[in-house]
């Protein structure tokens, strides 16, 4: 069994490395211009943000609307760290240290918010996290060290593709491993039925806070990468709409599917760029496509499943069956069925 898993890991590692090498070669060979590099970096940042939110929303089953708040904490904390340290240490360690600081700060804030907030459920939690996101912005606006509304400049621009890529890989790996462990099962059980989870001995509060804190920390890392790519921060970047954008990626990809998140982050980051040609109709089309995608796949692109190599074959079979079934179902009027 472990042998099979080991093989699986090697395959995944090889694939991840090959993708990296191909992309790198295309970049240095000029096939992928800096324009595309920029987009790819934003995709990677969105992957980090959305997969971390997926831990809370998809795996833990808690709706939060303030993820941009954690991103902000991480972005500012890491930016300030690197501004202070940039003359002392070189790029890679500087980036790592500041991302670490960003992640830890966001994680700590996540714990502070999480302990009281997670006593609430559903839409009440959504409101609290929304409020938290707004409060963070007010704080950033009103204190000196962040530069307030004027924003923060002087951040070294050191988040290149290669760093962003491997950091995203690590984040996904950690999340994957976490969700496929005893802790991950506990987290999922809370999503399924909190009362039952407690009744079989799951320390629900602990796992909720754990999930929340890890998600917050990774959002902080995502924010830190963003800060070191854009090299300028202001509070408006982290508004409510940013939280919503991240949530949309999670749901479109499939709640509880990291692969889905990766695919959805890619699609939703490219989409607005791809629609540039439509000028003023761009955002109209974007929202229209968003609605279509949700109507077409309400459970998200990947549902709760993950992409597996051996699954490709099964999947094609399933797809054929599903199509046949859809035809069948169409004969049935599904409009008035219960949940």
């Amino acid at each position: 069994m472990t042998k099979k898993m080991f093989k699986n890991y090697m395959v995944n590692f090889a694939v991840v490395s090959i993708i990296f090498v191909i992309l790198s070669l295309m970049m240095s060979g000029g096939i992928l211009s800096k324009y595309y590099q920029g987009i790819i970096i934003f995709i990677l940042i969105n992957i980090i943000l959305a997969s971390s939110l997926n831990l809370v929303t998809g795996f833990l089953g808690q709706l939060t609307l303030g993820h941009a708040g954690f991103m902000a904490v991480g972005a500012y904390a890491s930016a300030l760290t690197s501004i202070v340290l940039k003359s002392i240490i070189s790029d890679l360690p500087l980036l790592l240290v500041s991302l670490f600081v960003g992640g830890v700060s966001a994680g700590v804030v996540g714990i502070i918010i999480g302990i009281p907030a997670l006593r609430l459920r559903g839409d009440y939690l959504a409101i609290i996290t929304l409020g938290f996101g707004e409060v963070i912005r007010v704080i950033i606006n009103n204190i000196e060290i962040t530069g307030g509304a004027q924003g923060l400049t002087g951040i070294p621009r050191i988040a290149s593709f290669k760093y962003a890529y491997w950091i995203a890989v690590v984040v996904i790996l950690v999340l994957y491993r976490l969700t496929h462990s005893k802790q991950g099962r506990a987290i999922k059980s809370i999503r399924e039925d909190e009362v039952a989870a407690e009744a079989v001995g799951v320390r629900t509060t602990y796992y909720k806070v754990l999930g929340f804190a890890i998600a917050a920390a990774f959002a902080g890392v995502g924010g830190g990468l963003y800060a070191h790519y854009i090299a300028f921060l202001d509070p408006n970047t982290f508004n409510f709409m940013r939280s919503v954008e991240i949530l949309v990626i999670v749901v479109l990809g499939g709640m509880g599917s990291l692969t889905g998140t990766i695919v959805a982050a890619t699609i939703l980051t490219i989409l607005p760029e791809a629609l540039r040609g439509f000028a003023e109709f761009r955002m109209l089309l974007y929202s229209f496509m968003l609605i279509l995608m949700m109507l077409f796949r309400p459970q998200g692109l990947f549902g709760t499943g993950e992409f597996k190599w051996q699954g490709i074959y099964d999947r094609t079979l399933k797809l054929r069956k599903a199509l046949m079934n859809r035809e069948k179902k169409e004969a049935v009027d599904g409009s008035t069925r219960g949940e």
Binding site: T57, L63, P116, A117, R119, L120, R121, D123, Y124, A126, I127, I128, L130, G131, F132, E134, V135, V138, I139, N141, N142, V195, F240, V244, L247, V248, V251, L252, M255, E280, F281, M283, L284, Y286, S287, F288, L290, I291, M294, L295, P298, Q299, G300, G334, S335, T336, R337, G338, E339
Partner: protein, 291 residues
């Protein structure tokens, strides 16, 4: 005196939040959907009223009623196209669709009307009523009056009438509702119609009060109404109104006596504290789930 004037200011803000929160809570109460597009229905209502006011010389009441009816139609159409196919889907997927609809309507308005705010004609005579040194806007009084009237009417409707009870039944269990002979789709459409008409009413009054109509008009009041509805106890009709007034008051008094720079943080901070003490909002019942 200053205090009294601030109280009136708070009432003015609160009444509009309350009115908008009513429509919000109505839809939420029945289909448990945080209808992000509610703000955009408000916006649609405001634009309709604007177009009518500029191009015709119908009296205010007619403008209002037409805007409400047309917005109700928009709300129902949105429900049929974008939410109905998702009846069986996870709740959060519908939420995302609602966000999509909200973006869509905003961008549609942007393409149709451009971003710069249009000036809403003074549909109600806005010269304030002066009581001693105090000033009360007529719009405020209208809003206040309407929000209370609609609160009572809706509450009675939902609690006492057959269609109202059908709505509550549908909100709890669609399948069982069918078994009672309730037409689920029609009931939900009706909910959207009422919610959207109320949204439009709020939108028009909002636009009149703040003189402008623009594509993102509904975003802030929509968000505030959502917060107000939760604050008061979401799904509860009197809760929405109470929540609206409380938020309006808190906002005004923080700005007046604490800090304008920090007011948003203070308002949300208070909200968080209230919810932690009373997790289901001010009027919500702390009913433990029976297992």
């Amino acid at each position: 005196m200053l205090f009294l004037q601030q109280l009136i200011n708070g009432l003015s803000v609160g009444s509009i939040y309350a009115l908008i929160a009513l429509g919000y809570t109505m839809v939420y109460g029945i289909i448990k959907l945080i209808n992000f597009a509610h703000g955009e229905i408000m916006m649609a209502g405001a634009y309709i009223a604007f177009l009518l006011a500029v191009n015709t010389n119908l009296p205010f009441v007619f403008v209002l009623v037409i805007a409400m009816v047309l917005s109700a139609v928009i709300g129902v159409v949105v429900e049929i196209i974008a939410y109905r196919p998702l009846r069986k889907a996870p709740r959060i997927s519908v939420l995302i669709t609602a966000i999509g609809v909200s973006f869509f309507l905003q961008n549609l308005a942007l393409v149709l009307f451009k971003a710069d705010p249009k000036i809403m004609p003074e549909l109600i005579n806005k010269s304030p009523i002066t009581i001693g040194p105090l000033q009360v806007g007529t719009v405020t009084l209208t809003t206040l009056f309407l929000s209370i009237i609609f609160m009572i009417a809706l509450d009675l409707f939902v609690k006492r009438t057959k269609p109202g009870k059908a709505m509550r039944a549908v909100s709890e269990d669609k399948e069982a509702s069918i078994l009672m002979g309730i037409n689920v789709n029609r009931t939900i459409s009706m909910t959207f119609a009422i919610g959207s008409a109320l949204g439009a009413l709020g939108g028009v009054l909002y636009a009149v009060m703040y003189t402008q109509v623009f594509p993102t008009l509904g975003v802030l009041p929509g968000l505030k109404a959502f917060v107000a509805a939760v604050f008061g106890g979401i799904g509860l009709i009197p809760g929405a109104v109470l929540g609206g007034f409380v938020i309006g008051m808190i906002e005004t008094f923080t700005k007046a006596y604490l800090s304008t720079q920090w007011s948003d943080a203070i308002v949300f901070g208070l909200l968080i504290i209230v919810l932690l003490v009373k997790p289901t909002g001010i009027l919500g019942k702390n009913q433990k789930e029976k297992v």
